[in-house]
Amino acid sequence: MINVLFAVAFLVLAPILGGLIAGIDRKLTARMQGRVGPPVLQPFYDVGKLLEKEHVIVSVSQNFFVLAYLVFIAFSGALFFAGGDLLLVVFALTLAHVLLVLGAYSATSPYSFIGAERELVQLMAYEPMVILAAAGFYLATGSFSVMEIAAFPRPLIAVLPGIFIGLFYVLTMKLRKSPFDIATSHHAHQEIVKGVTTEFSGSTLGMVEVAHWYETVFLLGLFWLFFAWSPVIAVIALAILYLAEIFIDNATARVRWGFALRSIWAVTLVLSAANLVWLQYFGGL
């Protein structure tokens, strides 16, 4: 079953919500550093400005790849909120990131090459966890359909704690936050130039930014599933989760990519495997 209304609502509202979250994020980050910080609407000003800039193209194909990246991120989010198949959502999301990597590769610049390679490392690092999370939801609820998982009457967090912590561990990387912001970062604007987005400018960069907003909302939706039995608790939990991410972002230094990959694999595979085995043999609700 697919709920088209939710999909349309996601497509329209997610950029607004995602942009606001980004703005609040920047404000809180500034406060944590003892600064005043930009206005909450700053991310919208930024994207508005990027759309006003001259359109400089390094290679024609990058337009296509970045547009496709935005479309597939929006598609996977819309499919998720419509209550579609979780596995399909995960694969659409992977495809979206592969398109971003291809966009970065299409500009023959050493900086965007390094960014693209690091983005691939990130994909390798978090992808197993996302698929294992889908498997965990299936074992717990007997369905891959987001709609049925969300309608599950009991708290999934109680049966999937390992999956939850594992997903939280990779969330830092997905949100491009320190210590795992190895492909490109919201801070540190001078390191390896700007990673994967180095060769994008103007509206192309704006599209990458909007895609990131879509993805933020989608990720929060994914975490919503753990608390879906009680919307009030879900909202509180998501707020705490995001605050924790901002705190981690400001309190840690970036790690090297090798360590990022190893630690993510070690933490997520051990936790989620233990969780899945436990679920399979002892339990469920």
Binding site: R35, V36, Y45, E54
Partner: protein, 150 residues
């Protein structure tokens, strides 16, 4: 809409500064002055930048670099020369290896003298640059080239 003025991203290049002006530019990012209040971000990437901030004078080695950074920035863009060295060469003007101010290589829109420039002056200079940036955007929108006289 004039988003241009609300989100100026800066790229900073050190032509051959004594580092005095550079430190002052960096001081603007600290909690005391916090230019991110105005949406100003110090990016390291000419393709993302709107304002080219140059400190120090031009010499044979920095000449091509300045030109290269300037050419990579998408329109509309403005150039601000911070410090008397960047404006005219300053005390190093007569040196055998110094060509003079930044305007020897690229068109400069705002000159902010001082040795070194104070953070207050830097913020003021950027705010003035925003006016120029907005003018150029308006010119671009009406189909004219952003740079007058080009």
């Amino acid at each position: 809409m004039a988003y241009m003025k609300r989100s100026p991203w800066i790229i900073h290049y050190d032509g051959s500064s004594c580092n005095g002006c550079d430190i002052e530019v960096l001081a603007c990012l600290t909690p005391l002055y916090d230019v991110e209040r105005f949406g100003i971000i110090n990016t390291g990437n000419p393709k993302h930048a709107d304002i080219l901030v140059v400190t120090g004078s031009v010499n044979e080695q920095s000449r091509q670099v300045i030109r290269n950074i300037y050419d990579q920035m998408p329109e509309p863009k403005v150039v601000v020369a911070f410090g008397i060295c960047a404006c005219s060469g300053g005390v190093f003007r007569e040196c055998y290896n110094v060509d003079g101010g930044i305007d020897q290589v690229i068109p400069v829109d705002v000159y902010v003298p001082g040795c070194p420039v104070r953070p207050e002056q830097i913020i003021d200079g950027v705010v003035r640059a925003l006016g120029v940036l907005e003018e150029k955007r308006a010119r671009m929108k009406s189909g004219e080239p952003a740079e007058a006289g080009v």
